[in-house]
Subunit: 294 residues, 4 copies
C-alpha cells in the first residue's frame, strides 16, 4: 500500500441524542478527506418513567461509520476528538479488518474452539488468538494444530487461577476474552473488570433454561425449538447483554443427549457470529441491551 | 363414492411398550382389508428413576396409522377393539379429513381468529366452526362474514360466563376449544374438564416470558428472536404440553409495540399449525410432553 | 397535533458516489430544524468492466433518512432541492406513515388479497386500497367485507381490459399496483409504464421454477425447501428486481397439491413484507437489484 | 456386551405397494425376538400417466424400522429373506451406529472437510474415514491432524486419476464417497458405478444457479437468500437426487465474495447433515427423488 491508498476505518460512537450529530461527524470526516462507505444510526427512545429500571435505554444516539481516507489513524483521531468532546461521545476508531487480540477459554468440549480457530485461519473472523486457556488438558492438541499457545490453568483455587489468567491477559495485550464453553464461573470482580470485553455462549435460548443442564430442562419441558445465546459477561450469570441468538427445530423423539449434540452446532455458530460482530466493531451497549449494526 | 371405494382412517394409539404391538395392529388392519398408507411409531424411553417426576415419559409406545379400507367405521372399530384391549391401549379412530367441531374463543384482537377462519374456508384446516365466543363485541362482524354464529359472553361473573360456555360446548357437540388470544383465564375446573381438547396460543417462546406483557419483557431483555407457543390448556397457566413453537428475528431498533405487531403473524401461524395437527389426529400426549407425528 | 409538533419524514436518495453527500444532506436537514432519527447508507461498488452488463450496479450511493422536524413538507422539499441538484440525486420525500394509494389485482385465489386487506385494516401496512381489480367475480364478497370497491374486469380483450385498468389507476390516483396472484400477464407496454410502481408475487424461489406450475416442478425435482419471491414487475416475466424471498421446509411425503397449499402462506407473507417495505419507502433500485433498508 | 444384550438394527426396504407388507415384516421381526423401537413408512403415489417420465415415483412402498433384538446379524438376515423375496423388496440391514467406511474428496477449500472430520471425531457422525483424496496438496496437514491417510492424486489425466481413485475405493472397502468441494468433474462411467454411494455438495439452492460461480450468479440476480444443496452424484451434473438443502438470508450490501464466505458455513452443515442421514440409513431412492426418514 502506498501513501496515497485510502484505508477504511470503523468509527463507532454513542452520546445523548440531539440535532446536529450526523452533520458534525460527517463534516469532520469530510475535512479528513474521507468518503463514507457505510453508515448506520439508531436513536434509542428515552425510557418511560414508570419503568424506571437503571439499565433501560435512555435517549442515546448510536452510530457506526465506515470511512475511506488516506489519513493515518492518529491524525484522524485528532480531527474527530473535538467533535467527540462537544457531544460528549463515547467513541472508538479502528482500521477495518485489523485483527482483535483474542484469548479463548474452553474446558473439554471442542466444538466452539474448533469453529473459532477454523474461521480465524480461513480469514473470515478478524481476530488473532495469542492464547488459549483451559482448566483441562484435552484441547492442547487442537491448539497445537492451529499453532496457538495453550495454557493449562487448573482451578484448584479460583483466586490463583484468575491471577494467572489476568497475567496472560496483560502479557498478551488481550482485547477480547471468549468463553467457548468454559465450564467455570468467573468471579464477580473479574467479570466487572472485563465488562464489554468478554463474550460467553450459553447453551439455551435465554432467558429460558438458565443455569445448569439446559438441554435436560428443554427436554423435560418438551419444547419444539432449542437454541443458544451469545452474550457479554456480567457479574449476573446468564443475564448479560445479548449479542446473538439462534434456534433449531427438534421433536419428541430426540432424547436430551441428542438435543445436546444438535445444540453444539448452534452454539458454535452463534458464538462465532457474535465474535465476528464484536471484532468488526458492530456491537454497542445500550444499558443491558445491545445495538448490533449488522 | 360407491360402496366399494376405500375410505382412509387415522388410527392413533398408545400403550405400555412391549414386543408385538405393530404386528398385532397391522394384522387386525389386514383382516379388515386395509392397506397401510402412512405410519409412524415412537417408543418413549422409561424415565430414569432419579428424575422421578410424575409427568415424565415412561416406557409408552405411540403409533399413528393411516389405513385405506372399504370397511365402514364401526365394523373396523369392532375389529380393532380386541387388540386394543389385549395391549391396554388408549386409542382413537377417525375418517381422515372428517372436520373436527371447533369452538373458537377470542377477545378483541382479530389476527388469530382471521387466520383460523380463512384457513378453514380455504379447505386447508379440517375443522368446522359452529360457534365463536368472545367477551367483547368487536369481532362479531368478522364472524358474520364467515357465517359463524357469534356469542358475546361478557365476563362480569366468571362462573356465569363459564356456565354459558359449557352450554354452548354441549349444545354444539364441540370437540375442540381454541383460545385464539382470549384474554381471560379459565377456571381450574374448566381447564381440567377440557384436558386434551383445548389449545391456547401464548405470545412468547415459552418458558421465556410467561405471564403478562411478554413482548415488553422481551424488549427489556433485549432478545434477538421472539416467538409464540401453542399448547394444550391445563390448570397450570402457560405450563401445558407444547404442540408447536415458532420464532422470528428482531433487532434493537424494534420497540415493544413493533415486536407485538411482528409477533401477531407468528402467533397466528403457530396456532393454526397446532390446530391442523390436532385436527388431523397427529398429536398424542406423553405426560406433559406431546408426540407430534407431523 | 399543534403547529410545533414535529413530523417525521422519510427521505430516500441515490446519486453517483463521491465525498460530501452525507455532510451536505445532514446540513440541509439541520438547517430545516430536523433531527435524524434513523439513517442507512450503502455505496454500490462500480461494476467490474469484464462483466459489462447494463443492469449491473455502478458506483451509486443510496441513502434513506428518517428525520423529525416541525417544517411542513413543501418548504422542506425546497430546502433539499439545491443539494439534490448539486449531487444529481434521484430522491423522494414522504411523511412517515402516510398511506400509499394501492390498487390490488387478483383472480380467484384469496390468500394474498386476504393478507393485504387484513394487515391494512389492522394498521400494520401503511396503504389505502381504493380499488380491487379482478378478472373473475369470486373475490367480490371479500372486497365488500373490507369495504373496498371491486372492479370485475374480464380479459376477453387484453387491450380493452388494460385500458379499463389504466382508467382506474388514473381516476384513483394509484401510486402502487400489487399483483396478488393475478393470473394474467400484463402487456410489455403497461409493465414499462408501471416500472418501480408494480409488485408481483411469484410462487417459487426464483430463479428456480420460472413460468407455469412451479409447485409441480418443485415436486418433480424433489427439492427440500419451497419458496416465494416478491419482485417489481418488468417486461421480462419473472425477471424483475427481487424485493423479498422466503422458503419453508417440505419433504418427500408432500404431493404437489400440498406444496401449493403450504406455499400459499409463504406467498402471502412474502408479498405483504415487500409491500410494507415499499410503502415505508425502504426499497431503492440499483439496476436490476434492489437496495432494501429494512 | 453379553450375549443376552439386544442390538439395534436399521432395516430399510422398498417394494411395489400392496396390502400386508407391514404385517409380514413385523411378523418376521417378532419371530426373531425383536422389539420395534422406531418405524416410518411412506407409499409413493403411482405417477399420473400424462407425466410419463421414467424417473417419476411409481407406486412403491418405503419403510425404515429400528428393531432391538438379541439375534446376531446373519440369522436375522436369514429370517427376513423369505419376506423380502415374497414382496420383491430391495432391502438393507445394518447394526445401528456401525460406522460407514467413507472416502472424502476435496481440493483446496477446507470448510467441508473440516466439518466432516470434526463431526466424525466428536462421535456425531457414524462414519470412519480411511482415506482422503485430493487433487491438491494443501489439505494434507488437516488430514494428518485427524490421523487420516491423505492421497494426493493430481488430475493430469482424468483416466489415470480415476483409476487410482478406484484402486483406493477397492483397497479400503469404501462404502460411501463424499465430494466435499472437490473441484473436478467425475467421468460419467465413474458416476454410474457410484450410483447411490456418492454425495456431492453444490454451492447453490438447486435448481437455481447450476454450473460455475453460483455466488456470482446469485449476486447478479439480487436474490435475498442463498443456499446449498447436497445430492447424490449422477452422470447428469447438478441433477442428481436431492438429499438436503438449506438457505441463509443475505442483503444488497454483500458482494459476491461475502456471499461465498457466508455460504461456506451453509455448505458444510448441509453436506454434514446429508452424510449423517445416509450413514444412518435414512435415505431411500424413489426415482430421481429421495425419501428421507429423518
Amino acid at each position: 500500500m502506498t501513501v496515497q491508498d485510502p484505508t477504511s476505518y470503523a468509527l463507532t460512537l454513542s452520546c445523548p441524542d440531539r440535532p446536529g450529530i450526523v452533520h458534525a461527524v460527517s463534516g469532520a470526516l469530510l475535512e479528513a478527506g474521507g468518503n463514507i462507505v457505510e453508515s448506520q444510526q439508531y436513536g434509542s427512545p428515552a425510557a418511560a418513567k414508570q419503568q424506571g429500571r437503571a439499565e433501560q435505554p435512555s435517549g442515546r444516539f448510536f452510530m457506526r461509520v465506515e470511512v475511506a481516507t488516506s489519513s493515518p489513524l492518529e491524525p484522524l483521531r485528532g480531527q474527530l476528538a473535538p467533535v467527540a468532546a462537544e457531544f460528549g461521545m463515547e467513541w472508538t476508531l479502528h482500521p477495518v479488518g485489523a485483527p482483535v487480540r483474542t484469548l479463548i477459554m474452553a474446558s473439554k468440549e471442542a466444538h466452539c474452539l474448533n469453529e473459532l480457530l477454523f474461521q480465524q485461519r480461513s480469514g473470515t473472523l478478524p481476530i488473532t488468538v495469542p492464547a488459549i486457556v483451559s482448566n483441562h488438558p484435552e484441547l492442547a492438541e487442537m491448539a497445537a494444530f492451529y499453532g496457538v499457545p495453550f495454557h493449562h490453568v487448573p482451578v484448584a483455587s479460583k483466586a490463583e487461577a484468575e491471577q494467572e489468567l489476568r497475567r496472560i491477559i496483560e502479557d498478551e495485550n488481550i482485547e477480547l476474552v471468549v468463553l467457548a464453553r468454559y465450564m467455570q464461573i468467573l468471579s464477580d470482580e473479574l467479570c466487572r473488570d472485563l465488562t464489554g470485553r468478554a463474550i460467553n455462549i450459553h447453551h439455551s435460548f435465554l432467558p429460558s433454561f438458565k443455569g445448569a443442564r439446559p438441554y435436560a430442562q428443554a427436554h423435560a419441558r418438551g419444547v419444539k425449538l432449542i437454541g443458544a445465546t451469545a452474550h457479554y459477561v456480567t457479574g449476573d450469570l446468564d443475564e448479560g447483554p445479548i449479542i446473538e441468538q439462534e434456534v433449531i427445530r427438534v421433536d419428541h423423539a430426540h432424547p436430551s443427549e441428542r438435543l445436546a449434540q444438535m445444540g453444539r452446532a448452534v452454539e458454535a455458530r452463534t458464538l462465532s457470529q457474535a465474535v465476528r460482530w464484536h471484532a468488526e466493531h458492530r456491537v454497542l451497549l445500550d444499558g443491558n441491551r445491545t445495538v448490533v449494526f449488522s
